[in-house]
């Protein structure tokens, strides 16, 4: 695993190292603005270049966060197959472009992408009647990844990966608080599998197993791993970590009552992003805590009205948040989930707010560091399905090749490949 420290060292190195200029006589520019025909597959193409031991430049804030790559027949064929729009540039044109992007005063920067990160998606093998937006995004963008789950995490396999994704996971061990589905095959299987793994690792309860997994993930980040999490995987990760010394799981899920002093015994020092939150101890509610602000107010609960806005960052001085917010739009259609948005009052001070719900004191997308690694949390379930219910059919990304919401997910897969040149002081 490439550590965050080495990334930082690279950050400190001067521009001259990263951008000695394109070596090829001709380059390919993949613009990521409105001219792009398939934004999502463009990320896959950039990733593909890295897997071919080639480098690429990510031109932050230039035409929606464009990619500049050495031209080759194979690359152009890949771009065409993926329906990715590109432009050919001569060597001098691309050199001029990089110089222009790197010049002061235009809030743009060029970041060298060097190595394809090893990606792990934390998800069960079993089929569950909801969909994982990142699995959808990675599969559609044709980005390779490994699926890992509790066994692999506890057996120390996280160290093999640069980037870990979590989605709709309940780290509190309450199986998503889907009590009403307890007699369905998928719930029973999930419960039995979790119990079996818990027993295998010497835990009496699923919540204990999941806490161990959460703490292992925390250690992974501390040691330089990159973590991206969505929907329930954000909220419950912190909830489980905070509850490491108490029991917040109702009897319906683990066979014994919650600790009556659970609320007082939460330890926020262990969490990634949130503080001062309280768990929802009602076993029949699918809410897990007050980190999630829940559905938008009725007047806003409409896909055509519900938007969130991305923050602008200095590309040269805040390259990481800039990378994570690259997009061809500044307002992105909202979407809900079991965790829809984060209560701004419960976000820790050191965490960077990447996107917010306007005038609602709610954060949609955030980023922070822990030890030598970083984490990025994105609230909501599926950027292209406003309200995705259990059992709904999966989103067909062929219908959403320019999805700004999915772009935010895919920004995260390239971020670990980057060696930004400057760092915020």
């Amino acid at each position: 695993m490439r550590s965050f420290a080495s990334t930082c060292i690279a950050l400190i190195l001067g521009l001259s190292v990263g951008f000695s200029g394109p070596a090829q006589s001709q380059d390919v520019l993949v613009p990521m603005d409105d001219a792009q025909t398939n934004h999502l597959k463009a990320y896959g193409a950039a990733f593909w270049v890295l897997t071919q031991n080639q480098e690429a430049d990510w031109l932050l804030n230039y035409r929606g966060g464009s990619f500049l790559m050495n031209a080759s027949d194979a690359l152009e064929e890949e771009l065409r197959i993926r329906d990715v729009y590109y432009e050919r540039l001569s060597a001098s044109e691309s050199a001029e472009l990089v110089n222009r992007v790197e010049s002061d005063g235009n809030n743009q920067a060029a970041v060298r992408l060097e190595t394809a990160p090893e990606i792990a998606v934390y998800a069960p093998d079993q089929t569950v009647p909801w969909d994982d937006a990142v699995l959808l995004a990675l599969t559609y963008a044709e980005v390779p990844y490994d699926m890992i789950y509790d066994r692999e995490v506890l057996n120390g396999e996280l160290g093999n990966y640069d980037w870990l994704h979590l989605h709709h996971e309940d780290f509190t061990g309450q199986l998503g608080k889907f009590l009403r589905f307890r007699n369905t095959a998928w719930y029973m299987e999930k419960q039995q599998e979790a119990e079996a793994v818990a027993a295998e690792f010497g835990f009496r309860k699923i919540s204990e197993l999941k806490l161990e997994v959460a703490q292992t993930i925390r250690s992974y980040v501390e040691q330089g791993g990159f973590l991206f999490s969505m929907c329930l995987g954000t909220e419950t990760l912190d909830l489980a970590l905070a509850a490491h010394d108490t029991d917040i799981v109702p009897e319906e899920y683990d066979g014994d009552p919650v600790d009556p002093n659970a609320r007082e015994r939460l330890d926020y020092s262990q969490t990634f992003a949130f503080r001062d939150f309280q768990p929802d101890l009602n076993p029949h509610s699918t809410d897990h805590s007050d980190i999630d602000t829940g559905l938008p107010p009725p007047s806003m609960r409409d896909p055509s009205l519900d938007y969130f806005t991305l923050f602008d960052f200095s590309a040269q001085w805040d390259p990481v948040p800039t990378m994570l917010t690259q997009n061809h739009v500044s307002t992105v259609p909202g979407f809900v989930g079991q965790t829809t948005a984060f209560n701004a009052n419960m976000v820790k001070d050191h965490v960077v707010n990447l996107a917010e719900m306007p005038a609602r004191n709610e954060i949609k997308y955030l980023h922070g560091g822990l030890g030598e690694g970083t984490f990025t949390f994105f609230a909501g379930h599926d950027p292209e399905d406003y309200q995705h219910f259990v059992g709904d059919p999966p989103t067909d990304l062929n219908l959403h090749p320019n999805s700004p919401g999915y772009r935010l997910i895919l920004n995260n897969i390239l971020f670990p490949a980057a060696t930004p040149e400057r760092q915020q002081t």
Binding site: R80, W186, Q192, G255
Partner: protein
Amino acid sequence: MSFSGVLAFLRMLATRALHRPLFAGLHDASSRGSGRGTSSWNATWTERQNLTRAHYALEMPGGAPLLISSLMSPTVLLGLFVGIALSLTASSGHAQNRPTPPAPPAPTAEADSFQQAQQLLQRGNHERAIALLSGLVDDYPNRLTYQYELIDAYEETKAYDQAIALLEQRAGDTPSVSDLADLGRLQYLAGREDAARDTWNAALEQYPDRASTYRSVYHTLSTLRRFDQAVSVMERGRDALGDPEAFRTELAHMYSLAGQHADAMREYVALLSTDERRLRFVRNRLQPFIDQSGDIGDALAVLEEAVADHPDNEAYLDLLAWLYAEQEDYDQALSAYTRLDKLQNTEGDRLLDFAEQAANANAFAVAENAWQTIQTTFPETDAARLAQKRAGDLAYRRWTQAPPFTDEATRFASEAWETYHAAVEDTTPREASEDYGEMWMRIAELALDTKQDLDAARRAHAALSEIESYRQERALLSGRIALRAQDLSTAREAFASLSTGEPTTAVERTAQHRLALLDAYDGGMENAKSRIEVLLGDLSAAVANDAIALHAALRHFAGPDSTHAALQYYASGMLYELQHRWSAADAAYEALITEIPRHPLTERARYHRAALAVHLEGVDASAQALQTFATQFYRHPWADRALFEAASLLEHAANEPTEARRLYMRLIEQHPRSVFASDARTRIRQLPAS
């Protein structure tokens, strides 16, 4: 105890009943009212049984639940029945004469404290509730209710040691089975698993000859999801009771939950041996476990053995056939359903249903075998006729889905043709039905589209006269046959009989299109245009593409003079293609190209010539001609279509995947926004690069 005292006591019990299910042990964990331990309440219930203190719920005339406790003294019971009698008397009288109900009893300090403690518990104020309950337990040491509530309260605060101490104190030297079961549960929750196991053993040893002993402990263990241990308890109980049928359904379910699927199946087999009507119950019980990963281990082997030992047991065989099918082992399922069909004398009905399931799951060979078996085993039956039709339906469906000009398409067409013919020959006119009509219609389709057999189409047309509901289809077929026989006036007449101002059915729309084409062929361009415009309202209809193509030609390529010569050549070509007169069509398009070379329709005519070359010169020639068209007229709106069709021909009909891939690549390079681009990209990923 006074009458008001009785009512106060009853109210207290009723209040308690509202807070938790009376027979909570029969409910699962989620049905608990306030998240308290089911097992403890179950133990409470069991103990009450042991102490002959069972409660019974009655419904008072006023609707409020009333509990009668045999705990009460005879005086109390007498008072209760007097109360009920009074109430019934009152309810039977006139409303205006109804006596005033007795005033509610004054609350006692004891009842108030208890109610307050319960409210505090509900609000999560455990500390004060425990203090109140402790006081009540001290003041009324014989009131079990207070003790149970306090034990629950301790448990809710995870004060397991206090709960255990109180339970042990209450149970004294002679703990009941439920006390011990509950005690074991609390010890388990406190993390003392060995002590819990010893306690449960003690419970089992107390009354080893009572089934309730094992039930009590088993329920406790199952709520703790200790399924392996629960299984052991029931197995032990069964041995001790000397009753091999004891706990059968519970044990079977527990085995499944513990992943011991073979043992579960043994129980279900035993259950079905005594009552075959429980088959549906068994299926429902097994379904979730099959739906999960589909792996039920050795359960299948157990059932297979049972079937082998008892070949005449219908329930066993039925379950086995169902299991095979659920696990998508269609070959084995076919064998099992074949035997079942014979055993049940259903004359193919069971097999017929199974074959449909197999066909829908794309297990085509199995479905075909099943249909064949039905026909040979039960000839002359409805099932056999239906099997034949469904076999034809499958072949017909596969023909429509197969890429054109492939051996596969030809084979399916022939299969459908032969199967449908055999089926209609086995059907007498008096049996004529919707199925019969549908088969004849498809025979006609095949006769016209693949067999070039007008006589067969005419026979189908004649046969359809038996079925009134096929009147429209028959008229359309009449027109199509006439068209193919080059009898255009008859064709027009037949299509006109279906013509309406606003065609709504597929048949009417097709007839409308054909009439428009005939008009154009005859030079009646305005008539053709007005006819075809009606069809543009519904672009989802099957004939929409043909209608759009004709409309575009009529609208954009009229002229250059009033005879619309180019358009007429073009319409001729289209009509000849519809008639499968490939050479004539080619000649018409060629005439257009040579005689009016500057007309824009010539480019379309060239495309048509390239496409229909597949009929005249073969696949490779057509693919080459289409590529040439795409090269020469790369800006033509049909250039992408030409490339895609050429690539499809090379991929499927000529089996040249590399060349096909090259053409798909060319398509997405030259026409990235084409409607064919997405399909081309999919095909590229499927085909080898070299």
